[in-house]
């Protein structure tokens, strides 16, 4: 099978976000970059599928500036076979990213399945998976917790609201966006990290994947940090009077119950 993964490099969740002086983005000085956690599940699922299907290949793609090659190398160290870095500006929006990835996929000879994380933890928009599939005109299933494979396609357990699930079926080729709970991503072993350095990472420029600046459809501006909240009231007293007073305040002052 020809198995593909799209990953995004993002600031670690422990990062304290600071803005640049123009408020046009974040200050990336000292940021620790990681693979977005949902994308690690996509990598793991791709590797497990390859292990069940001898002769399969796993190719990992990532868009962004040169630093994202580190993320691709990490995926290669986990077990992916080769990488494609699509060189895009830091400020690329979801549409430009998805169109560039779709452009890269159109250069491949055959695609059976594409795995992505259900969203990235930086802008959290949950758009790129659906956009790639729409541009490639293939089905997509997002927020997937379990996958059963058949020769024709997949049967997925998809999380919806209120603790409910849907069972969704679709044929190959398709895109599946992974949700936490699907698997436990492996760690790269030291020998595999060494081996990964020799694996091929191709670089594609915007012209190679037939996108231009005009494919950018939105731009983030006027970044703001959340207004500092004033620490509120601490309610004194014994548990009984604390509970009584809190409920009174929520009812009479905040008017939320």
């Amino acid at each position: 099978m020809n198995i593909y993964i799209c990953i995004k490099q993002v600031p670690d969740t422990e990062t304290k976000i600071k803005l640049n002086s123009e408020q046009s983005g974040i200050d990336t000085t000292g940021v620790k970059w990681i693979i977005s956690p949902y994308d690690e599940l996509a990598i793991e699922e791709a590797l497990r599928l390859k292990e069940k299907n001898t002769g399969s290949t796993v190719t990992v793609l990532s868009c962004g500036p040169t630093r994202v090659v580190e993320a691709i190398r990490t995926a290669l160290a986990m077990g992916a076979d080769s990488g494609i870095h699509v060189d895009l500006p830091e400020t690329a929006d979801n549409n430009l990213i998805a169109k560039a990835l779709a452009g890269a996929f159109k250069k491949e000879t055959k695609i059976d399945i594409i795995f992505t994380g259900k969203e990235s933890i930086d802008d959290g928009a949950a758009q790129v998976s659906q956009l790639i599939a729409t541009y490639l005109d293939i089905p997509y299933i997002t927020v997937v917790l379990n996958i059963e494979y058949s020769p024709q396609g997949v049967k997925c357990k998809r999380e919806i609201e209120g603790g409910a699930f849907e069972i969704v079926e679709a044929p190959f080729p398709l895109l599946v966006a992974t949700q936490k709970g699907l698997n436990e991503p492996r760690y790269a072993s030291l020998p595999n990290i060494m081996k990964a350095k020799k694996k091929e990472v191709r670089v594609l420029k915007m012209a190679d994947v037939e996108v231009s600046a005009a494919d950018q459809k939105i731009r983030f501006k006027n970044f703001q940090l959340p207004p500092p909240k004033q620490a509120g009231k601490k309610i004194p007293g014994d548990p009984h009077s604390q509970a009584k007073e809190l409920v009174r305040l929520l009812h009479e002052e905040a008017k939320v119950v």
Binding site: A126, Q130, G163, K180, K217, N222, A231, K234, V256
Partner: protein
């Protein structure tokens, strides 16, 4: 004044409160407000949309639309959007809305502002802000190029759905012609709890590792049920196996904006605060007076949640009984 089309949402024959929020906000701003509703056997729901401000409802019914799939739903929606050519297209950032709207935006060749928490109408445009890094910062979204502005809006972010049964909508019934579909929903496994989803609930009660085990979450569920609340959890509690990941609030879980968030035994790690800080009112209950959660809490109780929560449940019950 703008021409606004809202993609309405129903599940199991019930309209989403977040759909009413969008209709009311658009209608209150004086916009020409239309809705598109899809499903099977849902004619009554179309009327209800009128009571919240839809002037026109495009009602699309077909047995194949009983369960949402992006593939089937987008077919007729795109046809209507292309023929009506609205200035603004809105949907809720719910599991279906977030799955569907990227496809709609791509098929219209325009951008999408996802998960907006602030929205205002200015002439025939919208101005929106959304969180990034799960709420550690917010950004204004600039739409580039021609075509409608498309946005999904976080449930509860706009507040105030206004029911007016004197308002009625013109209902345009459309029989969907869907052709052969590749994606099929073959089964739906219902949630067992019957509680609202953490992302949609007006009140969320969340617990941390201090709950000590899964069994103790019953305390939160019992208090939550008095309030009609959803029960959430911190990453620490989920990692410890007390709750499933779908209940996790924070940067690697759900990001929520309820009107009331009650954090019980949650210290307030940066990635958790990111996921709930836009809540309207925050209550923290924690033994440690230095816990970071108190810095963003409107009301705090330094104390033992195992004593406080059952007492709170009784007090909430009293208030509820008085007002029913």
């Amino acid at each position: 004044m703008a021409k606004v089309i809202i993609i309405a949402e129903q599940r199991d024959g019930r309209l989403k409160k977040s759909t009413f929020e969008l209709l009311s906000a658009s209608s209150a701003a004086g916009n020409e407000t239309q809705a598109i509703l899809l499903g099977d056997g849902i004619t009554d729901l179309a009327k209800e949309l009128g009571h919240y401000g839809a002037q026109t409802v495009h009602l699309i019914q077909n047995p194949a639309l009983k369960f949402y799939t992006a593939e089937a739903y987008s077919i007729e929606i795109i046809k209507i959007l292309k023929s009506k050519n609205p200035d603004i297209i809105l949907a809720s950032h719910t599991p279906s809305g977030r799955d569907l709207l990227p496809r709609i935006a791509a098929q219209l060749g325009v951008g999408l502002a996802s998960d907006c928490t602030q929205l205002s109408f200015e002439g025939n445009k919208i101005k929106v802000r959304r969180p990034v890094y799960a709420g550690k910062a917010t950004v204004e979204v600039e739409f580039i190029g021609p075509g409608p502005q498309v946005a999904t809006v976080r449930p509860n972010a706009l507040g105030g759905a206004k029911l007016n049964t004197n308002q009625t909508a013109e209902i345009i019934s459309i029989t969907a012609s869907l052709g052969t579909l590749k994606t099929k929903v073959t089964d739906v496994v219902r949630g067992v709890s019957g509680r609202p989803d953490v992302t949609e609930a007006a009140i969320v009660v969340s617990g941390g590792r201090s709950l000590k085990n899964a069994e103790n979450f019953k305390l939160l569920e019992e208090m939550g049920d008095v309030l009609g609340a959803a029960v959430g959890a911190s990453r620490a509690a989920v990692d410890a196996g007390f709750r499933p990941h779908r209940d996790q609030v924070g940067q690697t879980g759900k990001v929520v904006s309820p009107t009331l968030y009650i954090a019980c035994g949650i210290s307030g790690a940066i990635q958790h605060l990111a996921g709930m800080r836009t809540s309207k009112v925050i209550v923290a209950i924690n033994l440690d007076p230095e816990a970071p959660i108190f810095q963003i809490a409107d009301y705090g109780i330094v104390g033992d949640l195992f004593l406080i929560v059952p007492l709170l449940k009784d007090e909430f019950k009293k208030i509820k009984d008085e007002h029913n």
